[in-house]
């Protein structure tokens, strides 16, 4: 998860254009200024491309914070490695 969080941080910094932005497992949309529906789409797409995964319909909506996002990413990349 740590590794995914680290990579997520770089994505967040670029998508929101905030090079100093620090995220942690407990970060939520409310903590990041500029996290609106448009940047959210940019963010989801950037994450999908960065990790080479595709979120299933509804998966994103269930996440409560960035930590859960990282866990989901780890699951998906692990599953991909198995197949």
């Amino acid at each position: 998860m740590e590794n995914s969080l680290f990579r997520l941080q770089a994505i967040f910094q670029e998508v929101f254009d905030q090079p100093e932005l620090n995220i942690s497992a407990t970060t939520t949309a409310r903590d990041v200024p500029g996290w609106d529906s448009l940047t959210n789409i940019n963010l989801i797409f950037a994450i999908e491309r960065e990790f080479g995964i595709k979120f299933a319909l509804g998966e994103i909506q269930e996440l409560n914070n960035v930590g859960e996002m990282a866990v989901l990413i780890d699951q998906k990349t692990k599953n991909r490695a198995k197949t």
Binding site: I11, E14, V15, F16, D17, G34, S37, L38, T39, I41, N42, F45, A46, R49, K54, F55, A56, L57, I60, Q61
Partner: protein, 615 residues
């Protein structure tokens, strides 16, 4: 991206240079926008997006591509899926926004009703008519309410085919139905001015439907297009819009060896060149030549810029399989000078800006040097595989045509004729004698519909001989040509070497007994021919006929129009006292009897050209 620096010249961020990465653009959108806004002299424009699905992401990326073209758009976006209601029932905010361009972003999801299984041809036809009627109500309402130009998507196709291949063959099939609607949209585009089609059927095919539509983004965010498709569609839109504002490129400059043919003409000689059907590589070069020839046919100027001895370089075009011939090129530079110098010379010779040139070379080092030395020139990264050159070039949308006019087809010939004119110039005792020998005739008159596209193009492309650098959309030009408050004049010039085409435009607004000249542009290719005097004579006569007593000339200095700083004084205007230098005004009293200034140009009657009406 480059660090901020006061001296540093602004440069397009690498993310937006060819080859383009949709991924990076989406990811770095905010930073890119910030950087792009640092450009000097951005052209403002107002675009309304009427959406049949969400449009926010479309606007956000279109914004980036337009900024990369030097256009700063402000956007109005309709409420979700309210494209029809807002236009037809007149949303006040939409009205207030007063768009210059209305983009109707609809997709197959917005077809009101598809035929039902086993519907008869008649029923389908009826359904088709009623769908068309809905869209025609929308379009005519927009055309009526605004001077705006409409850009309308045609239809893409659904990912699913419950009827399998019958979707395409049966009249009630969705594919069949959508393609018929597309044909109707196309017919409307052909028969109406101020209306352009955005061909998303092609774009979706190019990308593939599974990439074009992403189900999870549709269900989650009601994006009719995937993020990747959003980049494709906005890039295509930006190509159209930059052409609307006269920012399309004019000239393609080509390297020779391993660009137009395989091999090195200086070493391999004619028989050693790889060109023609009997070789896979030779066939690819042949096809690239055909593509280039196609561009030339529709008015793109061609130039050669090659490190070669001129005799060798020219010899290449005598190859029996060469589709391109020497006479297809308006400028030919084959020597050992740096290519950047040659390209500057080509621009000067053709009287066009460096920013209207595209340079294609298989050699990455040459590309890099040109890109660095003359950053205004567009240098696509075409790689070194000739089978991809045309596609990469086309993907950039440099030469997007809005309409193909007779003038475009004749343009290449004009530039060739010009070489003869210049050669001729040197044989005369005086310049007057030379002008007299040109046997020039001008057709000057108020705007007429057949010329509106060309007039708009000239207005928006002219930078040097342009007194005010005001830009107009074709819709605005059309409106003011009929409103009775303006005097409009266009001028075409012919001489014994050929037709120079429509080369000058004046727009003046009438204010009681005075006329303020809002715009005066002329193509630099007819400089020093007396055309400005001919236009002025016509303007004065027009004013006399309308009882206008005074002319007010305005000069707004820009970076490029220094050559016309004294234009009005040379025509006999007096500077108006206390007019500010950033908007210098000049006055001219219209005398009751006026002696024409023009000496060597005869005026001819205005010809309504047949078969070219655009409205």
């Amino acid at each position: 991206m480059k660090p901020e620096g006061k001296q540093a010249k602004w440069e397009l961020p690498t993310e937006l240079k060819s080859p383009l990465s949709a991924e990076l653009i989406l990811r770095k959108r905010i930073a890119l926008r910030k950087e792009l806004l640092k450009q000097p002299e951005l052209l403002p424009c107002r675009i309304a997006i009427l959406g049949g699905s969400t449009t926010q992401e479309i606007a956000s990326i279109l914004d980036i591509f337009l900024l990369a073209q030097g256009i700063r758009a402000s956007f109005y976006e309709s409420d979700y899926n309210a494209f029809f209601e807002e236009a037809v029932f007149g949303a006040p905010k939409f009205r207030e926004f007063n768009p210059e361009i209305v983009f109707v972003h609809t997709t197959w999801h917005n077809v009101s009703q598809f035929p039902e299984l086993l519907d008869s041809e008649q029923r389908v036809e009826k359904l088709l008519r009623s769908e068309m009627q809905k869209f025609e109500i929308l379009w005519s309402r927009i055309r009526q309410d605004f001077k705006a130009l409409i850009i309308q998507n045609n239809f893409d196709l659904p990912r699913l085919r419950p009827l399998g291949n019958l979707e395409a063959s049966e009249c009630y099939g969705r594919v069949n139905y959508l393609l018929r609607l597309n044909a109707e949209f196309a017919r409307y585009a052909r028969t109406h001015s101020r209306f352009l089609l955005n061909d998303i059927l092609y774009l979706s095919a190019q990308l593939g439907l599974t990439q074009w539509i992403d189900n999870s983004y549709w269900y989650s965010y009601h994006m009719a297009l995937s993020p990747i498709a959003t980049v494709a569609i906005t890039r295509n839109l930006a190509a159209i819009i930059k052409s609307i504002y006269g920012k399309a490129k004019k000239c393609l400059v080509l390297d020779l060896d391993n660009t137009l043919w395989g091999g090195v003409i200086g070493d391999d000689d004619l028989q050693g060149l790889v060109l023609g059907r009997d070789h896979p590589l030779g066939e690819a070069y042949l096809d690239f030549q055909r593509y280039v020839k196609g561009l030339q046919n529709r008015g793109v100027l061609l130039g050669v810029c090659s490190k070669n001895d001129p005799e060798n370089a020219m010899k290449g075009f005598s190859h029996p399989d060469s589709v391109l011939k020497l006479e297809d090129f308006s400028s030919f530079k084959a020597n050992w000078n740096p290519k950047s110098d040659n390209i500057r010379e080509i621009a000067a010779e053709l009287n066009i800006g460096l920013d209207s040139i595209v340079f294609v070379d298989d050699n990455p080092a040459e590309r890099a040097i040109v890109a660095m030395q003359v950053p205004e020139v567009a240098v696509p990264d075409v790689g070194s595989d000739v089978s991809l050159f045309a596609e990469i070039l086309e993907g950039e949308g440099y030469f997007e045509p809005l309409k193909i006019a007779q003038d475009d087809i004749e343009r290449g010939a004009y530039y060739r004729d010009n070489a003869q004119r210049t050669a001729c110039e040197t044989n005369f005792a005086s310049y007057d004698e030379f002008l007299a020998s040109l046997d020039m005739t001008a057709e000057i008159g108020p705007f007429i519909p057949v010329y509106l596209e060309r007039i708009t193009q000239l207005i928006n492309k002219s930078n040097q001989f342009n007194l005010t650098t005001r830009r107009y959309t074709s819709a605005e030009v059309e409106a003011l040509s009929r409103d009775g408050y303006h005097i409009t004049l266009y001028g075409r010039l012919q001489d014994r070497f050929g037709d120079n085409g429509l080369v000058s435009v004046i727009i003046g607004s009438i204010c009681e007994q005075a006329l303020e000249i809002d715009l005066w542009v002329m193509s630099c290719r007819v400089l020093k021919r007396g055309m400005e005097q001919a236009m002025f004579d016509a303007l004065v006569q027009e004013c006399q006929a309308l009882g206008i007593r005074k002319l007010i000339g305005v000069y707004i200095p820009s970076k490029k129009n220094g050559m016309v700083a004294e234009h009005y004084s040379s025509l006999g205007f007096c500077p108006k006292e206390a007019s500010p230098p950033e908007r210098k005004q000049w006055e001219f009293e219209v005398p009751p009897t006026y002696n024409e200034l023009v000496k060597h140009i005869r005026r001819t009657a205005i010809s309504e050209r047949s078969g070219a009406s655009i409205s």
